[in-house]
């Protein structure tokens, strides 16, 4: 009997399932998502996948060796504001930490319009209202010393009054608790005693990091989505087990791996935004297969454009995230996003008579004019159909026809206003969107001290392959990969299937140079032991366990920290010079040569260990034969497409993406169509089908590689 790896991803509309057998063969299924009880949709997608491989659901579940699953239960709870009623216990006098929000509106890096136009902005609705926050007497200082003992009477009455007020979850965060966790632990114990049914989350367990605002936000959010997420994963886990699935269910997490159900119950926050992250994980795997260590992953959908960066075979991670203007601590694969998508509205700034694209989006409803769902404002997609990039009569594999006339009418009105020709305008819309996205690609790399020219760009999402060849060219990127046909559209599920079990443990200990090796080693050993215990609990055999340690360091007196990787889990006195050298190297890579101050005192801040279990990986089937002969019938038609490079429309060949063979090479301009997207190759570009059936675009054939 074959065994399978299985990845599942719940989207807004569909739940995707990817099965991969021992030989690498992929089976894909989709079922409608079932909001309210997502487990139903998950089981239905599995049932359909089982049908395709000829197995009843219980038999299929019995033959799956790993089932990895991304859940949106937490994300939805936040978007719909349907989380739990949460109470917070904190250090007396510091009740307002998450209301003060460090005196900001939480908008840095967000929509510039909200930043500059203050009357349009506001703080987000509080996750926990002031009436559900209780300060209790206790205090720890910067040395981790208890300077005020915990007043347990106050703790008891705080818990009782919060329970009286009807809370469903309790968050606990004290100042400096990451140095001295005993007070938080004591509150948890007292809560277990007097309110055993309460979901309780403590900051020293979830995010033992330096900075009470981001730490409190983390526990508040964790408690907010806690009860819902716990219900969901517990329920799904139970139903899968009942139906025959035996190994531990794996839940994808935002740091880029998976966690067991048990961990997801304690730290549901880890599941937040894990969907886009799975796309990066999938790219990481495909990159390894393709021998590409440096990848910019892009996902352009209807409303947004997401960019992730993989450098040297590792996904770039950030340790502070943002949701609803709230910043919180949690290690997370860094996916930057902007509001340019197929649905971005095209408009004219009346005052200045200039053409603008986005950031407002027509979304899925009413959507672009050409979707015939009542949209009246032209969008990027409308420009795409007018230009001929998209086939109005055969969109989404023929399941939908687009209203080209409507789109043209909408854009023509704008063209008239600007005194431009329709095509000129539509092409301008595409270019503005493409160049804006190129700016984000640049920003995502340059801000990490990386040069986009050293990268290959992966294009996902329905709208991505239409525009990425130009976006990449503008960012100076030579090659674009559109991953193989069907897998691309279920990429996140594929990512889930290829993810490793991962625990990122962090601990803050602020130490200044000259460093005490023993202290450093103590922290590293604690972190390693914690990770080891977690993997053991996950049932991972010792041979499959791996560890990677790093320290966030900075110049003493400076704010900026950089993550310095260390390649061992204990260091010796003789390694200290190397540690400094690594810091300087990374610092200068990020901030420029000569930026580091020679001889300055250094500071270690956060210690981190990633404990992961290398899981079985999908194996992709590469073609053994390559051919430059394009099969007859692969070219399905010609249509008139406007090319900005030529400033005119020309009859251009259209290919069926499924008919092309590994080894085929086609010069632009042309369009390759699949059921989920159109790959647009401009004049001066070239596309090849590689051995894995990926489409690989050379974005500028005149430039040397």
């Amino acid at each position: 009997m074959p065994s399978y790896l299985c990845g599942l991803d719940i989207g807004g509309t569909f739940t995707d399932c990817v099965l991969m057998d021992d030989s690498g063969r992929l089976t894909i299924s989709k079922a409608p998502s079932t909001p309210g009880n997502f487990a139903d949709g998950v089981l239905e997608a599995l049932r359909r996948a089982g049908e395709r491989v000829g197995l009843e659901l219980p038999a299929l579940l019995g033959s799956i060796t790993m089932l990895a699953h991304g859940t949106t239960a937490g994300t939805n709870a936040i978007i719909q504001r349907k989380g739990a009623k949460v109470g917070l216990i904190t250090t007396r006098g510091h009740n307002d930490v998450i209301h003060i929000m460090r005196g900001s509106r939480g908008l840095s890096g967000q929509d510039i319009k909200l930043i500059v136009h203050i009357p349009e902005s506001s703080k987000p609705e509080p996750i926990i209202p002031k009436r559900l926050i209780r300060g209790v007497s206790e205090r720890v200082d910067c040395f981790g010393k208890v300077v005020v003992a915990l007043n347990e009477d106050e703790v008891r009455s705080a818990i009782l009054s919060l329970v009286d007020a009807g809370i469903e979850a309790l968050a606990v965060c004290f100042l400096w608790s990451f140095l001295a966790p005993e007070h938080e632990a004591r509150v948890k114990a007292i809560a277990a005693e007097i309110a055993p049914q309460l979901y309780v989350t403590c900051s020293h367990e979830l995010a033992p990091k330096w900075g009470e605002y981001e730490r409190t936000t983390a526990v508040a959010l964790n408690a907010y989505i806690g009860p819902l997420t716990v219900n969901y994963v517990t329920n799904l886990d139970r139903r899968l087990k009942e139906m025959g699935y035996k190994p531990p269910l794996q839940i994808t997490q935002c740091a880029g791996g998976t966690i067991a159900v048990r961990t997801a119950r304690d730290a549901p926050l880890l599941t937040l935004d894990s969907g886009p992250v799975s796309g990066v994980t999938g790219s990481l795997y495909l990159g390894k297969v393709m021998n590409e260590p440096n990848i910019i992953t892009t996902d352009m959908g209807g409303t947004s454009f997401d960019v992730g960066v993989i450098h040297d075979g590792q996904a770039m991670v950030s340790y502070k995230s943002l949701v609803h203007q709230y910043e919180y601590f949690l290690p997370k694969v860094d996916v930057q996003t902007m509001g340019t998508g197929g649905g971005s509205k095209v408009w004219i700034d009346k005052t200045t008579g200039t053409l603008r694209v986005g950031p407002q989006s027509a979304g899925a409803m009413p959507g672009p004019i050409c979707y015939r769902r009542g949209g009246e404002v032209p969008t990027t997609t409308d420009a795409d159909v007018v230009l001929g990039y998209l086939d109005a009569d055969n969109f989404a594999g023929g399941t939908m026809s687009l209203d080209r006339e409507g789109a043209a009418r909408g854009l023509q009105a704008l063209a008239d206003e600007l005194g431009m020709d329709l095509y000129e305008l539509a092409s301008g819309v595409a270019q503005i969107a493409e160049f804006q996205m190129a700016d984000l690609v640049r920003k995502a790399t340059i801000q990490k001290g990386l040069d986009p020219r050293d990268f290959v760009l992966f294009a996902f999402g329905g709208a991505g392959p239409v525009h990425m060849a130009v976006t990449a060219r503008e960012a100076g990127i030579k090659r674009v990969v559109v991953p193989q046909g069907d897998t691309a559209s279920t990429w996140c599920a594929f990512g889930a299937a290829s993810a490793d079990t991962l625990h990122v443990n962090e601990q803050v200990r602020i130490m200044s140079s000259p460093f005490d090796v023993a202290s450093i080693n103590t922290v590293l050993a604690e972190l390693a032991a914690k990770g080891r215990a977690q993997l053991e609990e996950d049932g991972v055999p010792a041979a499959q366990q791996t560890y990677r340690c790093s320290i966030d360091m900075r110049h003493r007196g400076q704010i900026n920290e950089v993550e310095v990787e260390i390649d061992k889990d204990q260091i010796a006195e003789t390694d200290l010079d190397d540690l400094r050298a690594r810091f300087v190297r990374r610092y200068e890579q990020l901030y420029g040569r000569g930026a580091s101050l020679p001889g300055a005192r250094l500071e270690c801040v956060t210690f981190r260990a990633r404990a992961s279990a290398l899981s079985r990986k999908p194996s992709l089937i590469a073609a053994t034969e390559l051919t430059d002969e394009i099969p007859a019938g692969a070219k399905t038609s010609e249509r008139s497409i406007y090319w900005a490079e030529w400033k005119k429309a020309a009859p251009s060949p259209i290919y069926n993406g499924y008919a092309l063979l590994p080894g085929n090479v086609i010069d632009g301009p042309c369009v390759i169509e699949t059921t989920t997207t159109s790959i647009v190759i401009h004049p001066g570009q070239r596309v090849a089908v590689d051995a894995l059936r990926n489409f690989v675009i050379d974005t500028d054939v005149t430039a040397s590689a």
Binding site: I100, R102, S122, W210, T352, I432, R442
Partner: protein, 761 residues
């Protein structure tokens, strides 16, 4: 006293008098300017290049942020990058410290006029500059100006400004509260070529660093500034290579032209008129117990705006700002209220804005006045009235009305300057940065934003308490938002906060205060809105806090601690805080908008629910009745508000004349101008009661009542603790219906302010 435009025979050259750029710059023929640009850039290229230019400026700022070593600068984001044309018109400046770019163009213009001949402005040069008479806000704000050349011609400028931790002067940190002149303050550098042909001139750098107590930090920051300019310059050159110099320049000019066009369209939508505001600075030097009047006038005639400061007090002590500081402060408000939709491309608007202050005043000081405190005193006190006059100017337009912002929090900064030996055994000096958490004032359509920061720095963040405690030997007892700290109004001003701390892991801290706005509220309301709390220092000596800590009985407010209350003055120097001395610092909140008695009942209920106001304030200021359950009794509240209004009319004498003519202009939320037989008359917006001819002050047609200033906000105390002047809260009521039309905070001897005059009818 005469304004600049009325003075003859004085050279406004940036030496003894402020530099005021002439309309035509006098630039040496040795410097070739790139003056060729494409007038007809197509809309697509325009949008692509425009977006790129914005990104360049953003990348410029991000580079400095990553590299700067100074926590003070970084938490307060006390920096700003700019992009200017060859002749120093603003293309873009960043969303960081808004004061700074306002003083940038004057620096560049001065450099063009005074450095183009000798030593010359060449490719690869950068100029360091911090002379407040040339154009810095204060000496700590050091600018680095970088000319960008293309084919031998000066194409444009990229510049940045970054607040320095210490550049000398008699007080560590270079804010010098007791300075009597600029000679007591940090080093001053008129633009000086510090980078030549891409290389740092070590001799010049050594001069720059010599005066600083923290030369290493300053050196690190200088490199950050250099890297920022280098990055931006490189990106501009790449853009030129890609699109051509005349196209890129064409886009730059069009950005400015577009912002000008947008500005002109806005000007066309609002009536001409005259608006005025008044506020006060307290204590210009240790021991001073006077108020120093600050007045701002805005006159609009067609497309032209003219700002003046007639009636402002003389320069004195250590509270002053220079011309460029005053102008920069006003530009913040111009930018945020009128140019936000053009992404702060203020260059176009500036073509139509004139600044004509009176030299020798506290916000247009002549050399060698002390100006090191300018950004937290004179500039702040110049900025916030600018919000008021501009807001009143745009109110008549229903669309622009949505851009109105009342005065925000920290309208004067209650500085806590402290020093000593830290828990690591090192010497330190620090300015408590907490007041940057400010508050945003009310809008014309919504409440302000509680602890929403300072509007003049739209994206900054306070350090976490854990960060401050790690670096300095203090322990915070609390940092919390204060009920009633926001100004009352139909829309409430944002709440501000208070921080309270004791020394920890040290025996003693040496403290200085530096503040104003502790006696008279500086975050006044608008159009009937009430002021926020004042700043406040509370200092309890020999308290029982250590016993409380030992007993696990911590506090949420300094009033819970027992100790000897010591009244700190506003410039008290070198006082000691020992281990059991508890120190709380409160900063001003946001001003309110509109009459508090017009505030919706459900909003007041929300305020009570979320501790934004107290039940007492609900009764005394909002005029409502709070039941035993802590919720409003709506029927009783409606009746009470009616009674209160009727009582005002009864006290002042009812007038019955109402106006029937059409509304010509909605001058404020409470005040219309209506057509009448002898021209336009002021009318109550609620009952149309006649308030007199528009050529008169509408306040003269109102019933006036003067109250103690403490009545305007429950957190305001007795002004006589700090100043000898009497201050009052004047309210102006409609004699027809008793509604409040407006109010003002004034020193009793000052006449009623004529704040609104519109040319209609």
């Amino acid at each position: 006293m005469p304004r600049i435009s009325e003075i003859t025979g004085v050279d406004f050259d940036g030496v003894n008098h402020p530099y005021v750029p002439p309309k035509e710059l006098r630039i040496s023929p040795k410097l070739k300017l790139h003056r060729d640009w494409d007038q007809n850039v197509d809309p697509i290229t325009y949008e692509v290049v425009r977006h790129n230019l914005w990104q360049i400026n953003e990348e410029h700022g991000a580079t400095i942020q990553r590299l700067s070593g100074s926590p003070v600068a970084m938490y307060a984001l006390d920096l700003n990058p700019s992009l200017l044309t060859e002749d120093a018109e603003f293309v873009y400046f960043g969303p960081y410290m808004q004061y700074m770019s306002g003083v940038t163009d004057t620096q560049v213009k001065w450099t063009l006029e005074n450095r183009s001949d000798n030593p010359g402005i060449k490719d690869g040069d950068m100029f360091l500059a911090n002379d407040p008479w040339v154009g810095a806000a204060h000496q700590q704000d050091v600018m680095l100006l970088c000319p960008v050349f293309w084919e031998g011609e000066l194409f444009c400028w990229v510049t940045n400004c970054l607040h320095q931790y210490d550049i000398g002067g008699i007080t560590p940190g270079s804010f010098c509260p007791s300075a009597e002149s600029a000679y007591d303050e940090g080093i001053m550098l008129p633009p000086i070529k510090i980078i030549e042909d891409g290389e740092i001139r070590r001799d010049i750098e050594a001069v720059y660093l010599r005066a600083s107590r923290k030369p290493q930090l300053v050196a690190l920051d200088f490199r950050a500034q250099m890297a920022g300019n280098t990055t931006a310059k490189k990106r501009v050159l790449e853009l030129i290579q890609r699109y051509g110099a005349s196209t890129v320049k064409g886009v730059m000019k069009k950005i400015i032209d577009n912002s000008e066009k947008s500005f002109l369209e806005k000007m066309a939508r609002i009536p001409d008129g005259f608006w005025q505001d008044r506020t006060y600075i307290e204590a210009c030097r240790p021991g001073d117990r006077r108020t120093h009047k600050v007045q701002l006038q805005l006159r609009k005639e067609g497309n032209k705006l003219l700002f003046t400061n007639d009636g402002t007090a003389d320069q004195e002590g250590a509270m002053n700002a220079t011309y460029s500081g005053w102008r920069g402060a006003i530009m913040v408000a111009v930018t945020e209220l009128l140019c936000w939709d053009q992404y702060f491309a203020v260059g176009g608007a500036l073509r139509h804005v004139d600044f004509d202050p009176v030299p020798g005043t506290l916000n247009c000081a002549n050399f060698p006045a002390s100006v090191s405190t300018a950004p937290i005193q004179s500039m702040e006190i110049s900025l916030y009235p600018a919000y008021n006059v501009l807001s009143k100017m745009i109110y008549p337009d229903a669309e622009m009305r949505k851009d109105i912002m009342c005065i925000g929090g920290t309208s004067q900064w209650p500085a806590t300057l402290f020093r000593g030996t830290d828990q690591w055994g090192e010497r330190y000096g620090y300015l408590l940065i907490d007041p940057i958490g400010g508050a945003i004032g009310a809008f014309s359509h919504a409440d302000g934003i509680n602890t929403g920061g300072q509007s003049r720095t739209p994206i900054c963040q306070l350090p976490n308490i854990e960060h401050t405690e790690q670096s300095f030997p203090i322990l915070f007892l609390y940092r919390k938002e204060l009920p009633d700290s926001g100004g009352a109004g139909k829309y409430r001003g944002g709440l501000s906060a208070e921080s309270c701390f004791i020394p920890h892991n040290t025996d003693v801290i040496t403290q200085d205060t530096l503040s104003s706005g502790n006696a008279t509220p500086t975050s006044t309301g608008m159009m009937g809105g009430y002021p926020s709390t004042t700043n406040a220092y509370t200092f309890l000596r020999d308290s029982d806090i250590l016993t409380r800590m030992a007993d696990s009985q911590m506090v949420e407010d300094i009033s819970e601690v027992s100790g000897t209350d010591e009244m700190l003055q506003l410039r008290q120097e070198n006082f000691l805080q020992h281990k059991s001395d508890v120190y709380a610092v409160r900063w001003t909140g946001g001003g309110g908008f509109g009459d508090p008695m017009d505030r919706a009942m459900e909003d007041i209920n929300e305020d009570l629910e979320h501790y934004a106001i107290t039940a007492e304030a609900a009764g005394s200021i909002y005029g409502v009745v709070v039941g035993a359950d802590g919720k409003l009794d709506e029927a009783a509240s409606i009746a009470r508000r009616a009674e209160l209004r009727a009582a005002r009319v009864a006290r002042g004498g009812r007038k019955t004349a109402t106006l029937e003519g059409p509304v010509l202009c909605e001058a404020s939320v409470n005040l219309n101008a209506r057509q009448h037989s002898d021209g336009a008359h002021w009318a109550c917006a609620k009952c149309a009661c006649d308030l007199g001819h528009v050529s008169h002050n509408y306040k003269d047609g109102c019933l006036r009542e003067d109250h103690p200033v403490a009545d305007s906000n429950p957190l305001i105390g007795d002004p006589s603790r700090f100043i000898d002047d009497d201050v009052c809260f004047r309210q102006f009521f409609c004699p027809g219906c008793g509604a409040q039309i407006d109010n003002e905070i004034a020193v009793t001897r000052d006449e009623v302010l004529a704040d609104i005059h519109v040319n209609v009818g």
